[in-house]
Assembly symmetry: C2
Homo-oligomer: 334 residues x 2
């Protein structure tokens, strides 16, 4: 070689006058190559002293430290905020991060768990899609895992969550202080750990202020923008009276906003609106919301997983971080 | 067993009076177990006829069909829209999808490619983070791959993109028809294939209408909300005059909106704003934008990858889908 630089597959293709994929097929011993073409490529490889970089030293899969994250809904921008925290710690410790979207589908989630296990990952961070997620395989295989954001109530499991009861309590307390007494609770799936806690926080705040908890003000939006839109639209069509909405995630607050606007309800003049999560887009619509320390949650989950992987800890650890209210312009005094 | 139902690890733990992780440690032959505890667990396993589900039949990694997607920025909600299309086809064909976030970092992207290869995935869909992404290893290893949304100009590569030149042309043509002549082009990284095409579309539209292309109206927001905010803020502080902004993604349109509002510029009265992508949140702020057929792009990329995996096709395929304008309320006649 003239330049002293190692030859690349591009150099080989050029010298042999063939395409890259032809060189690739020769390198990987495909049968369907014209013998003359094969010869030409082999000659070019020899002349250029080309060395195939990858297959020369096939790395053991175990050498590559990798953890998997299973999340329930790739469309919800809250989860990428958690991912950013996980990535920060992963990078420092030389771990790869593989993401799997369970699409709120328990059987798919199960298959993701099995697939990650079979591919030899060192540990798993799991945001369960449902209460019925099975983690038996993880436990049986002794693969270290940590619940993040949501957890399934069981012995022996470590988790990192934020204090959802407290966050919801603060949000509803704030609305009560502004004089609102008919506050819609726009909830996610009520069986999830996050949601049970947020509903409890809502009820505690009302209780403390001796405000009656009205059954008709509980509507489920399943953490989805579209379903929240439908739920609030239906409430308005039925003529149910309320002056505020507490949506237990920001996605649903966006859906509620859309429904309110279509019914010519102005935020905050007609209806006050509080969300939960503080995703990237919430500041743009000036949404008052409960900010979860998502980055810190992700960081802590990964640190905890590393401790489990290295067996520095064996007893389950439970980390509960504190959320905080971010007051913007979507609420006003009644 | 009384019930005929297979015993679970929970049943064993209960019978032996130990925790789940203790059963797990026994099952996986850990040394650090108290011999009496081990005996108790082993007795329970025998009594309950418990069979360990996972390690009994360790599946070959190759049996699990898996493809990897490497995307440049998990915080941009455009990419999950592509993922949804990929997921739809993956599921039908029994493939697992593994996601990797390259965080716009070429060396990290390279490590993701190598890691996916080492873990035996069947193919890779790549949204390159930069023009300098190296795909030599993919080519050398003959691992099937498809570029999605963005591509690197090279022989032999298959890709699925949308017609970015046409999309930008339509957007700018629309603004010109509304009487705008000073249109800011808020761009992403100008070396990306998507961006080169969108800038070309902007210029073609101006050209056709004999409107001069002003250098000072090109500002780069790097496809990021924060950087777009800064770029527009700076433009307004410098007193540059313009009546419209064409942002080449919606994330940047959100950032531009924030900067405009802080300078008391009303959309659309003072400034018209057009985005690109049509992410989930754009309708909420009534953003006029260029809608990419993201779901179809994802579907097509996965179908193409399956064809490459099964060797139904060998020559590179190039699929170019058409975007379309979505007119909402963020523009008005000048």
């Amino acid at each position: 070689m003239e330049s002293g630089k190692a030859a690349t597959i591009h150099d080989v293709a050029k010298r042999a006058g063939v395409s890259l994929s032809t060189v690739s097929r020769v390198l990987n011993d495909y049968d369907s190559i014209n013998p003359q073409t094969r010869e030409r490529v082999e000659a070019a490889i020899k002349e250029l002293n080309y060395e195939k970089s990858k297959t020369e030293s096939p790395k053991s899969v175990k050498e590559k430290k990798t953890v998997g994250l299973i999340l329930p809904d790739i469309l919800n921008p809250f989860f990428p905020l958690l991912i950013k925290g996980i990535e920060q710690v992963s990078k420092i410790h030389g771990y790869h991060l593989i993401l799997c979207d369970s699409e709120n589908d328990v059987p798919l989630e199960q298959r993701h768990i099995d697939n990650l296990y079979d591919r030899g990952v060192d540990g798993v961070i799991l945001i369960p899609s449902s209460e019925t997620t099975h983690v038996e395989n993880l436990i049986e295989s002794s693969l270290p895992f940590v619940f993040l954001d949501r957890f399934i109530d069981m012995d022996d499991a470590s988790y990192v969550i934020s204090d959802n009861e407290e966050g919801a309590y603060q949000a509803v307390k704030y609305l009560l202080k502004l004089g609102h007494h008919s506050i819609v609770n726009l909830t996610g799936p009520p069986e999830l750990s996050t949601e049970r806690a947020r509903i409890a926080g809502y009820k505690r705040a009302l209780d403390e202020s001796d405000v009656e908890c009205q059954e008709e003000l509980f509507v489920c939006g399943n953490y989805s923008l579209e379903e929240a839109y439908r739920a609030i639209d239906e409430l308005l069509q039925k003529g149910v009276r309320f002056s505020a909405i507490f949506a237990t995630n920001d996605m649903m607050a966006f859906g509620a906003k859309q429904a309110l606007e279509e019914h010519n309800k102005h935020i905050p003049n007609d209806v006050s609106l509080v969300g939960y999560d503080d995703i990237l887009f919430s500041s743009i619509i000036s949404l008052t919301t409960v900010s979860q320390p998502a980055y810190e949650m992700g960081r802590n989950a990964m640190l905890l997983l590393l401790d489990l992987i290295s067996e520095r800890i064996s007893t389950p650890q439970r980390v509960v971080l504190r959320p905080s209210m971010v007051i913007r312009g979507s609420c006003q005094r009644r």
